[in-house]
């Protein structure tokens, strides 16, 4: 077959195919079922022509043109993967609990690591108060000496504090999750840092007999906030585990599934951090709210979260 005959014989079909692809891209819903079937037949023909052209006329315009058409058709004619984010109700009632329960092992490991790092931070701070000072700053330590705790400053502008805390917590959760992509090290780092900080600061405040004030401050938001940080880190570790553990399927197939599952868990936690930002800005530092009420609120929030996460899920567990 001569090249010029090949081009002359097929150009019209290729142009028709290209214009149908244009239609499909501009208004996918306007394409009729028959037109779509014709398009798929034409696609098969274009792929066949491409294979012929590549083997006989390599380097020519026809090969480059058919390659462009094939790449474009491959994108437009493949079914788009569905997204479970479409319905918030389905997400929080089914997708989130299913995926949360699937990473239970990682959550247990992260909880243990968090506890160990808290004890470690507390022990080091007990040996040397400078450890705690390094986290909260000298001004805050001076304040503790005067019987003032730094969290009181939140009462000056609760709205600003609330938003900044919510944003900061969401960033920490995202960092803890994303850090999992670095073979889990990023997630472990966030977990260790937060546990260590908690332990060190608790001991530092106890040096000044202010540990009660700190506990009173964190009792409303702390239980859930710390749990969510642990869970976000566990979601990151889930990704890291997939990176380092051998599997029957290629990593390029396993990793996106693990990332998707863990991201669902992390994204399911983010709205709670908005609520916690409000609690931490308006309720936790408020001297007008009794300690008992704050403790009760903390327990209620944690229980609500755990109920939503451990909701008995109908249907199958997540695949993959």
């Amino acid at each position: 077959m001569r090249y010029e005959d090949f081009v002359a014989g097929q150009t019209e079909a290729w142009e028709r195919f290209a214009s149908r692809l244009d239609q499909l891209e501009k208004a996918p819903s306007a394409i009729s079922h028959e037109a779509l079937e014709e398009l798929s037949v034409d696609y098969r023909k274009v792929l066949h022509d491409q294979a012929v052209a590549a083997s006989r006329f390599d380097g020519t315009w026809a090969v480059a043109h058919l390659r462009r058409l094939s790449v474009r058709a491959n994108r437009l004619l493949q079914p788009q993967e569905t997204s479970k984010l479409a319905s918030p109700l389905r997400f929080f009632s089914r997708t989130f609990p299913q995926n949360f329960q699937a990473i239970g092992g990682e959550i247990a490991v992260c909880l243990a690591l968090f506890a160990v790092s808290t004890v470690f931070g507390a022990a080091l701070s007990a040996l040397d108060t400078e450890v705690g000072t390094a986290f909260v700053g000298q001004n805050s330590v001076d304040g503790l000496g005067r019987g003032e705790i730094w969290t009181d400053s939140l009462n000056e502008s609760p709205a600003t504090g609330s938003a900044q805390i919510a944003v900061n917590n969401m960033r920490v959760a995202i960092t803890a999750w994303g850090g999992g992509a670095l073979a889990g090290f990023g997630a472990f780092y966030v977990l260790f840092l937060n546990g260590f900080l908690l332990g060190a600061v608790m001991i530092l405040t106890s040096h000044f007999d202010m540990d009660g004030a700190l506990l009173q401050f964190i009792s409303a938001h702390g239980p859930l906030e710390l749990s969510i940080i642990v869970i976000a880190a566990a979601a990151g570790v889930h990704v890291g585990r997939e990176l380092v553990s051998p599997g029957n399927r290629p990593l390029s197939a396993r990793l996106p599934k693990a990332a998707r599952r863990s991201a669902v868990v992390m994204l399911g936690c983010l709205p709670w951090l908005l609520v916690l930002g409000f609690v931490e800005g308006f309720i936790s530092p408020s001297p007008g709210i009794a300690h008992g009420t704050k403790v009760a609120l903390g327990l209620v929030l944690l229980s609500l979260f755990l109920c939503s996460a451990l909701l008995p899920t109908l249907g199958a567990r997540p695949r993959g």
């Binding site: 390599d58 493949q78 944003v167 992509a181």
Partner: protein, 236 residues
């Protein structure tokens, strides 16, 4: 199958035009410039609001709170939103003709765009290494989302195809003529003339009487000889 190709229908291999680190970095630079501008607009609007409505607002803290939440929302929705709306493109990618597709070359899912956005901070720190050393130029976000970034195929006119060729000419020689068809308008005229003359001499040698001698320049004779269906854009 090479790292840069996928299988289409009937197992026909499709070579994907993977975007390299350079074009992706340039697209990201454009996007971050726009993002910085939007951040500046948000902060300016909040500052102006605080000054203009200082009497009406009970406390400027609410405005700061709104600004903090807006900046956070912008940070995480800027890239995701664009990629979701523009089917895998941001403004920077659109300007450079790039597009995010699934690892099979199909349309990426909404969740894939979310995943890519969530690890963007890590990619700013470590992504360049992944881009450079990965066979498919994927950053961390691409690995997690199962996506790749490709060059958007640009359509090329069928006017660049050879319609007549001397007897015995193979694909390699035809490709040379087609390359000249594609580029003659951007090459210096004397260079085009020299190349056209050389090709026509070769064509005459292969098939005497093949050349069309009606044009006043070698380039025009070349275009007419090899049968471009479009009116040549060179001056007589």
């Amino acid at each position: 199958m090479s790292d840069r190709s996928v299988y289409g229908l009937d197992n026909v291999r499709i070579e994907l035009p993977i975007a390299g680190a350079g074009s992706r970095a340039l697209a990201a630079t454009i996007d971050y410039s726009i993002w910085s501008l939007l951040v500046l607009v948000l902060i300016s609007a909040a500052s102006a609001g605080a000054v203009l409505f200082s009497d009406a607002l009970p406390e400027t803290g609410w405005l700061v709170a709104l600004l903090a939440l807006s900046l956070f929302a912008l940070d995480f929705s800027f890239f995701f939103g664009q990629e979701a709306l523009l089917q895998g493109q941001t403004l920077g990618k659109r300007l450079l003709g790039l597009r995010v597709v699934s690892h099979r070359g199909g349309r990426a899912s909404l969740f894939a765009y979310v995943l890519r956005s969530l690890v963007r901070t890590f990619d700013l720190l470590f992504g360049a290494w992944f881009l450079i050393f990965d066979g498919r130029s994927r950053r961390i976000g691409d690995h997690l989302a199962g996506t790749i970034v490709v060059h958007e195929p640009k359509e090329s006119s069928s006017g660049n195809a050879v319609r007549r060729a001397p007897a015995g000419w193979g694909a390699e020689r035809i490709a040379v003529v087609e390359t000249l068809f594609e580029r003659y308008e951007t090459l210096p005229p004397d260079r085009t003339e020299a190349l056209s003359h050389r090709i026509l001499v070769e064509a005459e040698r292969a098939q005497p009487g093949f050349s069309d001698s009606s044009g006043s320049t070698w380039t025009l004779r070349l275009l007419r000889s090899f049968g471009t269906p479009e009116e040549p854009k060179v001056m007589e």
